[in-house]
């Protein structure tokens, strides 16, 4: 994968003074695919959370975080909207079905796809300096 050899130090410089990142920077650095739900422009990433249990995300994810998951059920749009997450990243090269994207457009939820696993995607975010929101 391109980008695997990037050193953590240089990647950390991507984080801005307030500890936040542009979602667009995350998309570009990790090579995420925009699945065509809401556009990722202008959003800030305040942290990240990984889970495939939607009830767990409802309980513990925080606003502004990106959510890494392999779930593709329509309910992920409701959970992402409810928690005001910056984006959903569907990992492992998976996609979501069109009704999910349509609902996401309606709710303003960004859905991205990562070719890598949740573990690897999370690791790359950590290397970029992304931590849990305070």
């Amino acid at each position: 994968m391109s980008g695997c050899c990037r050193s953590p130090r240089s990647a950390e410089s991507l984080v801005m003074d307030n500890g936040h990142l542009d979602l667009k920077t995350v998309v570009e650095t990790l090579g995420l695919k925009d699945l065509g739900a809401a556009p990722p422009d202008g959003r800030k990433v305040t942290g990240a959370y990984t889970s495939d249990l939607l009830s767990d995300v409802m309980g513990f994810a925080r606003a502004g975080e990106v959510w890494l998951t392999v779930q593709s059920h329509l309910n992920l749009v409701a959970v992402a909207a409810l928690k005001e997450l910056a984006a959903v990243v569907v990992c492992g090269g998976r996609g979501v079905e069109e009704p999910v994207l349509a609902k996401a457009r309606e709710e303003g939820v960004v859905i991205l796809s990562s070719a890598e696993s949740s573990y690897e995607t999370g690791g790359r975010l950590w290397e970029m300096g992304v931590r849990r929101a305070q």
Binding site: L53, L54, M58, Q71, H73, L74, N75, V79
Partner: protein, 246 residues
């Protein structure tokens, strides 16, 4: 004439991984009878291979056995598909198997998956991995069960492991359900207070028995005229006098 029926709609046979080997058709029926149950559903993991044998074992029993399957969907959610006739359950099995990964069972982890006759005689082991997800979404699975004339009843919805609310957080909008099974840890009142989204759904509790001693420990009473899937459906909706007792 309506009568009060004790139902336990979620019982596993020796075909299910982790069920004890004594979960044989005639013993299941005998224990259900001893416990005063009127209707039981035998629902093994992703398979209905012992369902017809359990129905046959109940021929001379006051217990009505409904054949079923506990399906696991792509999302990792468990759903009971409950039918009147074994052929319907077999059709659901065909669909589920067409969507299961081609993986072998590992008996050292999951136990042997025993296919047996009504008398409990050994027929064969099912060699495939049954404790895994079929590649079918929750909506598709429920629609398939319904199209085959069955009742789709998501299992233990409040459980983090494999329960609809635990896994998917919310009951999906537009999912066509008459009711759900809640885990034995909650009363229907507690479940409604904790999960307001359960409003309007019939709530049943079952034993989810994997051993004989568990059969009859938990059940739900329903007022039914006949012990059929359609009558249970009416009771879940509280229609035409059919209802659940909570």
């Amino acid at each position: 004439m309506l009568r009060r029926c004790r139902m336990d709609l979620h019982i596993h046979s020796a075909l299910s991984p982790c069920a004890e080997v004594e979960m044989l058709p005639e013993l299941i029926v005998m224990k259900a009878e001893m416990e005063g149950l009127d209707v039981i559903a035998v629902c093994d993991h992703n398979s209905a291979e012992n369902a017809a044998a359990c129905v046959e074992a109940s021929r001379d029993s006051p217990v009505r056995v409904l054949p079923g399957i506990e399906c696991e969907t792509r999302e990792g959610v468990h759903v009971l598909g409950i039918f009147d006739r074994p052929e319907q359950a077999a059709q659901l099995q065909e669909f589920v198997w067409s969507r299961l990964p081609d993986e072998p069972n590992r008996p050292e982890f999951f136990g042997q998956q025993l296919v047996v006759t009504a008398d409990g005689d050994f027929v064969r082991y099912n060699p495939r991995l049954l404790v895994t997800s079929a590649d079918a979404g929750l909506e598709e699975m429920c629609a398939r069960i319904r199209d085959l004339g069955g009742l789709a009843l998501p299992s233990h919805v409040d459980k983090t492991f494999a329960g609809l609310i635990g896994v998917l957080g919310l009951i999906p909008e537009g999912l066509d359900l008459e009711g759900v099974e809640i885990s034995a840890a909650l009363t229907p009142g507690e479940a409604r207070a904790r999960y307001p989204q359960l409003a309007g759904l019939g709530l049943v509790r079952s034993s989810d028995a994997h051993r004989l001693s568990e059969i009859g420990q938990v059940w739900t009473a329903a007022w039914l005229e006949k012990r059929t899937v359609e009558e249970i459906r009416l009771a879940l909706c509280g229609r035409m006098g059919r209802r659940l007792e909570e």
